[in-house]
């Protein structure tokens, strides 16, 4: 029983999906953790990447499709940023508006059908299979790992540049940014464009991975990515930037592993959104729960000392 749950295949699939979805988590790392913006356009942006990638892969080349997906993601991020930096829309509202609009855009990209299949077309993974035939079944993982490695490395490099540091300061201290030579409208725009491109790239890779695109593929993506992000931060901490980026990838893989195990225990696939919502809720509330437990413990100890000194439990009041 246990052997079948923790088989190598389950682990491999979890790692593959973990690496692909880690790109969305990395996108949220930039918008949510660094810029301190809750960008709710993630779901629509993910589907956009998926849809654009499918269409370009069908008519062009699967590799070109990935870049096209990223370009589409940049556009989506730019519009979200434009709404909040230039038109005074609340950041959460801006995300919701773009997300809603994207549903129609996505349908249009998919030719007003809710499904596209890539079964008969080459994908980057099928190309990799030919080129890396010696890898056995591991070519998918290798490719996905390379992509997330490149994205994570580029992110780390970028966050150390003048622009990257400015983006970090924008999310960290708004008062400081106003008094220093940083234009927050610019840094937020750049940040959300990068974040959008990563989200769409993830969607594009997933489309090629599962050889299909569905109009609802992105639903709940923001919750799942947040779960990965927070699992990573809880386990690896927030001490240094490389550690945090590593935590994002690690959290994403771990989340996929949890999902894989849950599926093995015959949790129906339809219940997975509820499971991810629960994971996120628990992960986010963990610090508060821990604090509460520590507080109650200290209070209990103080009560005991109080009883020893004064002979009452203190519960009776004055």
């Amino acid at each position: 029983m246990l052997a079948s749950i923790f088989s190598l295949n389950v682990l491999k699939t979890a790692l593959e999906l973990g690496c692909i979805y880690a790109l969305v988590a990395l996108a949220l790392f930039l918008s949510y953790s660094i810029l301190n913006i809750a960008d709710l356009s993630t779901d629509g942006c993910f589907t956009l990447g998926c849809a654009v990638c499918c269409q370009v892969a069908l008519t062009g080349h699967p590799l070109l499709a990935l870049f096209a997906a990223m370009a589409a993601g940049v556009c989506s991020g730019f519009i979200t940023a434009f709404l909040q930096t230039r038109l005074g829309v609340e950041s959460i509202m801006a995300g919701i508006i773009v997300n809603t609009g994207l549903y129609t855009i996505n349908l249009a990209v998919m030719g007003f059908s809710s499904n596209i299949s890539l079964v008969k077309t080459d994908t980057v993974f099928s190309l990799a299979k030919e080129a890396l035939s010696f890898m056995g079944g591991w070519h998918i993982l290798l490719l996905a790992a390379l992509v997330i490695l490149a994205a994570g490395g580029a992110m780390l490099w970028f966050l150390g540049t003048r622009l990257g540091l400015s983006i970090r300061a924008t999310g960290d201290n708004a008062a400081m940014v106003r008094a220093s030579s940083i234009d927050p409208a610019y840094t937020i725009t750049v940040g959300l464009c990068i974040s959008g491109s990563l989200t769409a790239l993830s969607g594009g890779l997933l489309a090629q991975y599962q050889k299909s695109c569905d109009i609802n593929v992105g639903t709940g993506m923001v919750t799942i990515a947040l779960a990965s992000l927070i699992i990573g931060e809880t386990i690896l901490g927030k001490r240094s930037m490389p550690r945090r980026v590593l935590g994002v990838v690690f959290g994403s893989c771990l989340y996929r592993f949890i999902v894989a195990v849950a599926l093995r225990f015959n949790v129906p696939a339809a219940a997975m959104k509820l499971v991810s919502a629960l994971i996120v809720a628990v992960a986010i509330s963990m610090p508060a729960i821990r604090k509460r437990i520590a507080f109650e413990k200290r209070k209990q100890e103080a009560r005991l000392r109080h009883a020893e000194t004064y002979g009452t439990s203190g519960k009776e009041g004055a």
Partner: protein, 270 residues
Amino acid sequence: MLKLHNIRKTFNPGTVNEKIALDGVNLELKAGDFATIVGSNGAGKSTLFNAITGAFIADEGSIILGGEDITFKPEFQRSRVIGHLFQDPLKGTAPNMTIEENLALAYLRAGRAQRATFSRISRKDKEFFRERLALLDMGLEDRMKQPVGLLSGGQRQALTLLMATLVTPRLLLLDEHTAALDPATAEKVLALTSRIVAEQKITCLMVTHNMHQALELGNRTLMMDGGRIVFDVEGEERSRMTVDDLLEKFRQNAGQQLDNDRILLSKTEK
């Protein structure tokens, strides 16, 4: 270095809350001038600073800094050459970024065109940061990898000062930057300010409520009231002035009772 001509600013014009904050300010600072500014609450000191930094565009008048007309330049472009320190020590640094990253940000953004968008700091730059941090004499040079949020208010204000002057600015604006610190720390940050401003020959304006500081620091003292500069003293005349003289001037020019406890108290404190 800095030329202000007839700067005017009215807040909430045409409403019951209309307030003439700046009523035709004229000021010329020579390169290397270090002027202190005194004035009661609402005299327009901070508003004057905000007009210079571009937090708002003045209704009237022109601002020329280092020969360049910056009257209509946006705030973030002006601040490349203007350092601005506030009373609140938390306002000048990013708490979740390390000391080194904060300095890197200040260093890279203050540089001119040769510092491109994607420039990074080098090992040589880090060595330079370490040297400058050592000057603060707070042991921060050994804590460069720690987040700034762990520092005390005084340490953060000292770091903010260092960041503002890492690349010598054309103008440094100090808005009561030691008022929120305890006396010993305030003393230290003030000494540091004097030294850095003197060493780098920075043109500087400093708001203070301490009459001793107003006369002792720098080479010029300005007094503001009702949105105007009502008194401007430097050189021989200034060095002969006592705190009592300055308070007397205050009464004459303001034409009203001193309403500010801090100013009255500063008469006795040293």
